[in-house]
C-alpha cells in the first residue's frame, strides 16, 4: 500500500473552557457530548485516520457528532486543541501541519486543499462573478496572468458542466446545483491533492443530487484527487466511498470498508444508522 496522503492522529477539540473530567465522562450513557461538570462540548476527541491517494473516505454520523468539526480542523477553519496531522504534500509529511504559520496555512487552503460546503454562502463570494470566485484561489496562490487564469477556470467550468454563457454571472443568480458546481470547480482549479466535501449534496433535489454525485465520481476517477466526504446519507456514502468512519459524540466508533460496515454493522448505533435509511 502506498503512503497515506493525510495522516490524522489523536485530534481533539473541546468547545468551552474544558475541565479535568471532560474526556472521562461516559457520553454514551448520557447520550450527548456535553460535559456534566463544566458544560463544555466535546467537538471531537481521539480521532485517528488516514486518507490514501485517490481514495474517497466517508465520514458518517448524526448531526452534532463532530464530522464537520474534523473537516473544519483539517481546513484550518477551527483550531484544534491538540493532535497531529501529517500531509504528504508538505515536506513529505514529516511535520505537524496544525502548527504552520498563518501564511502557510493559507497556502495549504489555497493550493493543496479544496473544500466544498453544504451551504454555498460559506464557499463562494456572492458579490463577484462565478469566474472571479474560481480565479480567487489562483490569485490568492500568486498567479498574476489574466489569460492563463481565465483559461484554467474555463477548463474546470467545462469539467463541471457549467453553461458557457453563465461564467460571468454572479452565483447568487444560480440554482443550488449550479452553485455547487461552481464550488467544486473553485475547489479543483488550483490542482489540490485533497478535496474536502462537507455534505455537498445536502439540500439538493434527488435528480440534481445524482448529477453532482456523478460529477464527484468522475472527478475522482479522472483527476485521482483524494477526498474526504462528510455525509449523513448512507446511500451517498455507499455510492462513493470504499472506506468509511462512523462518528458519534465526537468519537470514531467504527471504521472499515463501506460494504462491511453497512452490511454487517458492529456497533448498535451504526446498526440504527444503517437501518434508519429509507430504502
Amino acid at each position: 500500500m502506498s503512503q497515506p496522503i493525510l495522516n490524522v492522529k489523536n485530534l481533539k477539540k473541546v468547545f468551552g473552557t474544558g475541565c479535568g473530567i471532560c474526556l472521562k465522562n461516559d457520553y454514551f450513557e448520557t447520550n450527548d457530548n456535553i460535559c456534566s461538570s463544566c458544560g463544555s462540548i466535546i467537538g471531537c476527541t481521539g480521532i485517528n485516520f488516514e486518507v490514501y491517494p485517490g481514495e474517497i473516505l466517508g465520514i458518517v454520523g448524526e448531526s452534532g457528532s463532530g464530522k464537520s468539526t474534523v473537516l473544519n480542523i483539517i481546513n484550518y477553519n477551527i483550531e484544534a486543541d491538540s493532535g497531529e496531522i501529517n500531509f504528504s504534500g508538505y515536506k513529505n509529511g514529516l511535520f505537524n501541519i496544525l502548527n504552520l504559520s498563518s501564511q502557510e496555512k493559507r497556502k495549504m487552503q489555497n493550493v493543496h486543499y479544496g473544500i466544498v460546503y453544504q451551504n454555498p454562502h460559506l464557499g463562494l463570494n456572492f458579490n463577484i462573478s462565478s469566474e472571479g470566485n474560481a480565479a480567487e484561489r489562483l490569485l490568492m496562490a500568486g498567479s498574476r496572468n489574466f489569460s492563463s487564469i481565465q483559461d484554467k477556470v474555463h477548463d474546470y467550468f467545462g469539467k463541471v458542466e457549467l453553461p458557457v454563457n453563465r461564467y460571468k454571472d454572479f452565483p447568487k443568480f444560480f440554482s443550488g446545483g449550479m452553485q455547487q458546481r461552481v464550488q467544486i470547480a473553485k475547489a479543483l482549479v488550483s490542482g489540490p491533492s485533497l478535496l474536502l466535501l462537507d455534505e455537498p449534496t445536502g439540500g439538493l433535489d434527488v435528480s440534481v443530487q445524482a448529477k453532482i454525485l456523478d460529477l464527484i465520481r468522475s472527478i475522482s476517477r479522472e483527476l485521482k484527487v483524494a477526498m474526504i466526504l462528510v455525509s449523513h446519507d448512507m446511500q451517498v456514502i455507499r455510492l462513493l466511498c470504499k472506506r468509511i468512519i462512523v462518528m458519534k459524540h465526537g468519537r470514531i466508533i467504527e471504521a472499515g470498508l463501506t460494504d462491511r460496515v453497512i452490511d454487517d454493522p458492529l456497533e448498535s448505533y451504526t446498526q440504527t444508522l444503517v437501518h434508519s435509511a429509507l430504502q
Binding site: 493559507r106 489555497n110 462573478s129 480567487e136 498574476r144
Partner: protein
C-alpha cells in the same frame, strides 16, 4: 483679519507635545514604508474631510524658515488651499510661495506637481480614505490582518473582476500601489497620471488622514508599483491629441472643461503654477 504678530496660539497652532507625537509617527511611517501608523488626530479649526491629516503633518514638521506651498487639485488659488494657507500663515507667520522649486514643504490635495521635486522637499498629501483594502473588505480587523500577512489576493480579485466585466482595470484616481514590495497603499486620491511619480522619487512623500487617524509614508528612492496583472499592465490617463488651452502643454495632466467649441470640450493644465510658467516660457521663446 487677525494681526499676524499677536496671535494667541502656539507656533503652528498645535501644542509641542502633539507635534512631537505626530513627528514620531512620521518617523515610524518612514521606517516602514507604506505601513499605516495610527496617530492621535487632534481637533482643528477645520472639519475632518477638509485636509486635517495633511494639515497636522504640515504643522508638525514646519519651521520658522520653511517656505510653504499649498495646492488643491493642482491649483494654488482653490478654496481649500487658500484657507489652509491662511490658517498656517496666521499661526506661524511663515513665507508661502506658488513656485514648486522654491517650496520646502508642499501640501497637496489630490495631485503631484508637474515640476520635478528634490531631496530637500517634503510632499504632504491630504488623504480621505487611507485603507486601500476597504473596497474589498469592510472589517478593519480583517484588513489589518491582511496587511500583516501580506494577504492581498482579494485586491487582485477586484482587478480580475474589472478586466472580466469591462476589459480593463477601471480604477481611476486612488489607484492602489505596492510600496517597497510589502504594503499596499491608497495613493491619496491622485490620478493614475501621478502614481509613477511616487516610484523611486527623490523627495519624501507623507500621507495624512485626519478622520481615519492614520499616517503613512513613501520615503525617497522607494519602489512603488501600481497593482496590475501581467497581461493587463498599469496605464496612465491618455491625453494624446489634446493640449492645454492656455499654455499649449501636451505633457501635463489636463482637466476637461465644457466649452463652446465645436466638440464642446476644452482642456487646461491641472497644475496652475506649471501652466503659468509654461506659458511665460513659450512667450519668451517666440
Amino acid at each position: 483679519m487677525m494681526n499676524k504678530t499677536d496671535y494667541q496660539y502656539n507656533f503652528a497652532f498645535l501644542d509641542e507635545n502633539t507635534k512631537r507625537e505626530i513627528r514620531r509617527c512620521i518617523i515610524k511611517a518612514v521606517c516602514i514604508p507604506g505601513f499605516q501608523v495610527p496617530f492621535a488626530s487632534r481637533e482643528l479649526p477645520i472639519f475632518f474631510g477638509w485636509g486635517t491629516g495633511g494639515l497636522q503633518i504640515t504643522l508638525s514638521v514646519i519651521g520658522k524658515e520653511t517656505v510653504l506651498k499649498v495646492i488643491d487639485q493642482g491649483d494654488d488659488d482653490s478654496v481649500n488651499a487658500v484657507n489652509l494657507k491662511r490658517l498656517i500663515i496666521s499661526t506661524t507667520n511663515i513665507k508661502t510661495t506658488e513656485d514648486t522649486k522654491e517650496a520646502d514643504i508642499i501640501q497637496s490635495r489630490h495631485r503631484i506637481t508637474e515640476d520635478s521635486l528634490t531631496e530637500e522637499q517634503i510632499y504632504i498629501f491630504q488623504v480621505p480614505l487611507p485603507e486601500p483594502l476597504r473596497k474589498v473588505e469592510p472589517k478593519e480587523i480583517e484588513t489589518r490582518r491582511m496587511h500583516g500577512e501580506k494577504d492581498y489576493g482579494k485586491m487582485y480579485v477586484k482587478l480580475y473582476e474589472d478586466i472580466l466585466h469591462h476589459g480593463e482595470i477601471t480604477i481611476g484616481a486612488d489607484y492602489p500601489a505596492l510600496v517597497n514590495e510589502r504594503y499596499i497603499i491608497a495613493t491619496s486620491p491622485i490620478p493614475r497620471w501621478d502614481v509613477p511619480r511616487l516610484n523611486l522619487s527623490e523627495n519624501l512623500f507623507l500621507f495624512g488622514a485626519g478622520r481615519e487617524r492614520k499616517i503613512y509614508a513613501v520615503p525617497p528612492y522607494t519602489k512603488v508599483e501600481p497593482l496590475s496583472l501581467e497581461d493587463y499592465p498599469f496605464r496612465k490617463e491618455d491625453f494624446s491629441g489634446k493640449e492645454c488651452g492656455i499654455c499649449g502643454s501636451r505633457d501635463s495632466y489636463l482637466n476637461e472643461l465644457p466649452s463652446e467649441d465645436d466638440n464642446g470640450k476644452s482642456y487646461v493644465c491641472s497644475d496652475s503654477f506649471y501652466c503659468r510658467t509654461n506659458k511665460l516660457k513659450s512667450k519668451d521663446g517666440t
